[in-house]
Symmetry: C2
Subunit: 518 residues, 2 copies
Amino acid sequence: MTDVLQARSPGSDSRRRTRGAPREGEIRRPDYRNLVNPFLPQGIFSDAQISDMHHTSLRVLEELGILVLLPEARELFRRGGALVDEGTQMVRLGRDIVAEALAACPREILARGGSTARDVSLRLGALNFTPGAGAPNVTDIERGRRPGTLADLEDLIRLAQTFDVIHMQGPHVEPQDIEHRFRHYAVNRAQLTLSDKVPFIYARGTPQVLDGFEMVRLARGLTQEQFRAGVHCYTVINTNSPRQLDIPMAQGIIDFARWGQVSIITPFCLAGAMAPITVAGALTLQHAEALAGITLAQLAQRGAPVVYGSFSSNVDMKSGAPAFGTPEHVKATLGAGQLARFLGLPWRAGGGSAANTSDAQAASETQFGLWAAVLAGSTVLIHSAGWLEGGLCDSFEKFVTDVETLQTIAELCVQTPGDADAIGFDAIAEVPPGGHFFAAQHTMARYRTAFYAPLVADWSNFGAWSDAGSRTATQRARDVWKKKVASFEPPSGSAAIGEVLDSFIADRRAHGGAAPES
Amino acid sequence: MTDVLQARSPGSDSRRRTRGAPREGEIRRPDYRNLVNPFLPQGIFSDAQISDMHHTSLRVLEELGILVLLPEARELFRRGGALVDEGTQMVRLGRDIVAEALAACPREILARGGSTARDVSLRLGALNFTPGAGAPNVTDIERGRRPGTLADLEDLIRLAQTFDVIHMQGPHVEPQDIEHRFRHYAVNRAQLTLSDKVPFIYARGTPQVLDGFEMVRLARGLTQEQFRAGVHCYTVINTNSPRQLDIPMAQGIIDFARWGQVSIITPFCLAGAMAPITVAGALTLQHAEALAGITLAQLAQRGAPVVYGSFSSNVDMKSGAPAFGTPEHVKATLGAGQLARFLGLPWRAGGGSAANTSDAQAASETQFGLWAAVLAGSTVLIHSAGWLEGGLCDSFEKFVTDVETLQTIAELCVQTPGDADAIGFDAIAEVPPGGHFFAAQHTMARYRTAFYAPLVADWSNFGAWSDAGSRTATQRARDVWKKKVASFEPPSGSAAIGEVLDSFIADRRAHGGAAPES
């Protein structure tokens, strides 16, 4: 007999007994906050190879240099001792300057939410998840795919607030129904009134960044000194691979550093396209660009909180289309973890899928990216829920099915009892051969809280599942997110925060808002 | 800017250039055979806890015992020194007897296929995959869910033969259109004529088992001595948890041991149902039952090839329905790996999903089971492709999407170049800031074979995907399996093998065949 036939014999009589819903106060409430990664970090390169990649990156910065489009950034590099050619805007960076910058980077960053329960520790060994970010489009199975709106963004922020396994907020989708010069007010207001998790602020030029800082300061009720003294928001900086740092990105690094807020400095190196086709080559370019950004941050403000960023994957060499959750993406993530540990810095990985709908491919690619980040020991995984089309679309249903996978990983972070009581010799003795444990003391004492209770997975048999409408996980996920959004309650104090922010926004709008810079 | 918007800026102009199909002889052909697990084994229990679980299992066998329904097995245990109560059929097994049996187990087993290229090494550190096994039902998106037939079994055997990442054959689905006493002839003939991979033989009583051994011997052209001298087929033995060994299972252990063929001895311990509700308790019961089966094999034939088996998961405590790919399944698999390494024996894990259709839940649960097996260091993962409904149904489309995930894992077993040429300083120097690597020397020399080429994943953009019919991975998987089946060519010599087997089968049928025993 094989497993399955066997599985159906002895237990089957007792298999379908109903135990009723758990009583009040007996529902399982695991703590998915402040996760510590339980897995040994896995590498794919030898220590010598990682050292070679690091030193080759230093050669790239020293001999080839990086194109820096922002004059203020070039000036900071020049004052820091770099060789700057104002004609070509190329900056060549000595390894001593990089070494000094790396020595100044904090190894642990405490990012503060609206309550201490929402504070997040960014350090090696911690495991944090943030939602899919910045998708121009949004989709759900009722309304279909469409350009993102503020209403969509607000609902996704509500979902991200609802699930503890999502540790920081993000700019889920681009609210294209809001005029550019006012959009950042809406994005920030939504995060600060609907959520008390660490907010994301776009680096789209100093005026928008300072507006964002002021909104966070007002929402958190801080003085300017208190705001500067702690980390209250974060941004993601992407270099323009290869070897280029554009104006808003360089400005963002400088502004966030000066105000003591976190920059996650992430080259986006697609092997074969904007980076060498080899995993080692893509990582070496990524590493050089990340080091340049980190150095700029430290030159702007020594000790500035920065997170080493990796989001290297490959493209389809026939079409040039980016791919995620591929073997090359997994390998690049594992190698990036080795480089981050070589530096000793907290770091971010990137997940998601290139699939166009929330299907088996989407689930499979997303989980490969997730496991890569977990096994690489990444401090924070960005785009961990909802991302389709390589980030061009955010799916409400996929957000829910992805949260289920994140919660499964979070459960693995919980210590598994292995003491005599858990081993349960007496329980084994209590049940006769061929019997079952449903009614055993050992079971009765634990069954209400023993196991993870799925969010969207359906374990009913085929008949029951068919009678209930043969619905896929994606169809069931729709019910989950709609219910969560309908029953959503904003964090306490959000009404007052809204009033404070609205008067600030009214004043800024009266002065014309702030257009994004590029 | 976030990753995604950034991703669309510099590369986008060069993103869609077509490079044409690879020339003949330049197609990537990775070797997915003889995989070596590249990951560090991960544990969830301390060494002391694993030792406690092992010794508690010995106490279970010594003090509580196991119900053994087969008189011949009880006699073997008795002669081996166990305390046997013929009235209750209970066997109590001293730890010295178990220790002696464990010392006699081979640490490495070479299972021979129809050609040396199909031989499989069963040892700690090796990574092998077998397809979903024993499902009573089968499904595909055209014909829907139905009882399995011989035609379905043959097509699934063709698929399993086609993909190198499937290392051994299996009894995918139960051919319910064949009469019980003749069914094993059809199952074995299909495996031996359509495939040269190591076949699976059901343990459904000595007559069927000996028929199976004879068919393998004839197909491989071996003398009886040659057959006995090597491993040429395998079976899966499931104990009837808790603490029970039924007649066909005990007989199978004895027959396979005496003929030198492999038994994979697998208690199927569903925590909360047929096993204690704790992971540690379920594993302790599993371990005790596996040790009893392994001991029986060694008492039947010292040195018999056996594989330690684990397939412990949990049930839904509200309905009693079994679940797979859950946190508890992952934890039990990681713990089982620790117990197997404690014994030093090759071992099998189990994958699959409880989902009723090939959707995001199915893909997610299956990949969690896969990663659990890989990180637990399992020697062979059974049910690695096609399994739905916790094993009550096998899906043609899921077989293909699961093969994609297995191939992704297999790619991670391939060493990643990290030498100076791979790091590629010259390539980085060749491309100016903001440029792209599509035309770089470093890229041109590698692009045809650099990356994994997906089997079913679609990375085209939303417009192209929509124009092509907005098909899900499962819909595309249908085309893949149909094409593979249509273009299938049996291994060389299969016609002659068919003739030899047919005359054997005709003779056995004339004598009434062999009914399964229970």
